[in-house]
């Protein structure tokens, strides 16, 4: 079977506010950069389909799909929305090309959380209206904090271990141009921070940022014409676990585990702990990144605490995780966050990561999660 490639990416934003641009202008800017990056494709002539990943409530518009086509150049062409993380759109592009119904597919996701004035209300609207919403818990992060406690206890992780991860990630983010929350922090500074919800401090919880990201996915044949450096999508997997807070497993990230299994099967990955040169994982919460590293098979449950303490996941470790920072440093541009991880992996594998460049990186695993209150994850395997 012929392969599927990522041939171009473009982005705009990663700022804490963006009042000078509408979301459509942001997407337009990102799209123009991505089309140029993909060898100068013309969306009106060359692209078979466009996919937008967004959610109505984040947009503040019902049926936000209506506003997807113009800024991408997709008017009167196949365009649709997936209500998922940007990586779910990449999964659709992957399937469309594999099925033979398209050769070039454009994927877009964006987020403008700076324009949302009632974020915690919107988050509450994502909970079950009968069983959870009436609890009116004042801080929605409490739902994740419960999970953090359970997970930490079961793996012997201490607060200092979360601190270690946070210090490392915010430090890595200093090497990136896209990280408004990057910081030079030490463990003492971390430990002095107050809890937002026990055991999480403000450092453990990613902030928000505004961004738009566009990616161009193509069949092998087209990819070889467009670029000398196609990146191959070797596998994609995604899965949903039960999201009801009272019923879901908090000791492990089952959705990520299932998604990884699906992606690794396609990519023929037998020993994920050794086969990847680095990993890009969702770190909307510090503990969640650690949980994902384990669920992706990059560490074992009984040794993950000691691996973390031994620096295995640092830039110089055996498996660098988020080597140019992650959500903690970049902020979360809502559904575009998965594409932000993909973008970092793309730059690393193409040797365009600037100061954050690792040497000789050939193969990476990219992970996304749909955020607070959900148990949906997606995993991509990418190689040079």
């Amino acid at each position: 079977m012929s392969k599927i490639a990522l041939v171009g990416m473009g982005y705009t934003g990663f700022t804490r506010s963006s009042e000078h641009l509408s979301f459509r202008e942001m997407v337009y800017q990102a799209a123009v950069k991505a089309y140029n990056d993909a060898g100068g494709i013309d969306p009106r002539r060359d692209v078979d389909a466009f996919i937008s990943c967004q959610e109505d409530f984040w947009e503040g518009v019902s049926i936000a799909d209506e506003f997807a086509p113009d800024q991408l150049g997709g008017v009167l062409k196949p365009v649709y929305t997936v209500t998922g993380d940007g990586l779910h759109c990449v999964a659709n592009a992957y399937m469309m090309i594999r099925s033979g119904v398209a050769d070039i597919v454009v994927v877009e996701s964006h987020g403008k959380p700076s324009e949302i004035i009632s974020m915690s209300d919107i988050v509450w609207f994502s909970t079950d209206p009968i069983y959870v919403r009436p609890l009116k818990i004042p801080n929605p992060h409490a739902l994740q904090a419960l999970e953090a406690r359970v997970y930490m206890r079961s793996r012997g992780l201490r607060r200092e271990d979360l601190g270690l991860y946070v210090v490392q990630s915010l430090g890595n983010a200093l090497l990136s141009d896209r990280a408004p929350y990057a910081a030079k922090l030490d463990l003492d500074g971390y430990l002095e921070a107050e809890y937002v919800v026990d055991p999480l401090t403000a450092y453990d919880i990613a902030g928000y940022s505004d961004a738009a990201i566009v990616a161009v996915v193509a069949s092998e044949e087209i990819a070889r014409k467009l670029t000398d450096q196609p990146l191959w999508i070797d596998g994609v997997g995604w899965a949903t676990e039960i999201s009801t807070i009272s019923m879901r497993s908090m000791e492990e990230d089952i959705a990520t585990k299932l998604a990884a299994r699906m992606a690794y099967d396609q990519a023929n990955i037998k020993d994920p702990g050794r086969e990847f040169d680095f990993a890009e994982v969702d770190e909307r919460y510090s503990y969640k990144a650690i949980q994902a590293i384990e669920a992706l098979g990059l560490a074992r449950m009984d040794t993950i605490a000691s691996d973390l303490r031994g620096g295995s996941f640092s830039r110089s470790g055996s498996l660098p995780v988020n080597p140019s920072g992650g959500a903690l440093g970049e902020g979360v541009p809502l559904e575009a966050h998965g594409l932000a991880r993909l973008l970092s992996a793309y730059e690393q594998l193409r040797g365009r990561a600037g100061r954050a460049q690792l040497s000789g990186a050939e193969k990476a695993v990219v992970h996304g999660w749909r955020g607070l209150g959900t148990s949906s994850s997606i995993v991509l395997v990418l190689s040079r």
Partner: protein, 393 residues
Amino acid sequence: MKTNVYVKKRVAVVGAGLTLFRRRMLETPQELAWIAAKRALDQAGLELKDIDCIVSGSAPDAFDGVHLKGEYYSEGAGAIGKPHLRVYVGGGTGVFVPIAAWWHVASGLCRRVLVVAEEKMSSAADPHPQAVFRHIWDPITEKPLNPNLIWIFALEMHRYMHKCRVSKEDIALVSVKNKRNALDNPYAQAAANITVEDVLKSELLVYPVNRLDISPVSDGAAALVMVSEEWARRLTDTPIWVDGIGYTLDTSYWTNRELSFPVYLKNAAEMAYKMAGIERPMKEIDVAEPYDPFDYKELHHLEGLGLAPRCGAAEMTREGVTQRDGDLPVCPSGGLLGVGNPIAAAGLMKTAEIFWQLRGEAGKRQVRKDAVTGLAQAWGDLMQVGTVVIMRR
């Protein structure tokens, strides 16, 4: 756009299921989704554990009043521990779900896919779920005018009537036909034996739209099971193949468009026809389920689909061509006007109806002619989406 020249795998529908379509159903969205899903699985002779992937659809989150609605109802859609994606193109979603399911199977990633669409509109807003549609506009250029969905469809209907010289009476015939067809549909909410006179005399909402020109507010769910060719052969002697898929989206700036003809639908249909190898749709399509949330839309869509000559759908309807025993039966299910309009579920209901018609399982709704090829279509967003599937026996 590409055609099926490169498409190597065939995808079949092997089961379908519906819930009742009703206003103010007592079931939760999750329960509705599962009732339909279970019925589709039963017809396919499969259990949930046999399903590899779930593809679902639902229109605005604001109807169910739940953010990340796809995550919320995933349990009811049977998605726990499985890959699940929710796709969304407004009112066009119902027919888009099987389109997305098609590439889940045709890509080889999934072999047996459960396709679910759910909508629970009735409890959406006070005093009426229409209020949700106050938030679908461009927030800067349109929202300040506080438009309502019926207003803009009245504009489109009026434009169509003017441009094609179509009368209110001709349009009302569609409502009469579909509501009567729905009398034979056990899931129907708005089945009735009415006359053209009844439609014209019903309450005027926004000229030229009267109350009986519009489909009702509904709750409901629909589901299909779609599988690879190998599994289709194993499961049934009468698989129904999805041979063509097509969809396009027009500009958000609906005010700048000629509303009398749906170009986006023409493009979508051409894509699907090309893929299915159909050159003369008027002759080759045996039964059609175009989207009919308003009666004029059936005529509008028949023309966009190339199943009627431009401005010729009213005459076809008058002559009885679109009746269940006519040459081109249209909306034999009773359509949205008769069965009801739980948005995404209504589109998928149309696909299910074509499946049953081609299998000869539509009971009293069975069309007279021997139907081999059928088409289902939906429409949505700001009058800008067309989604089309073509199915064959």
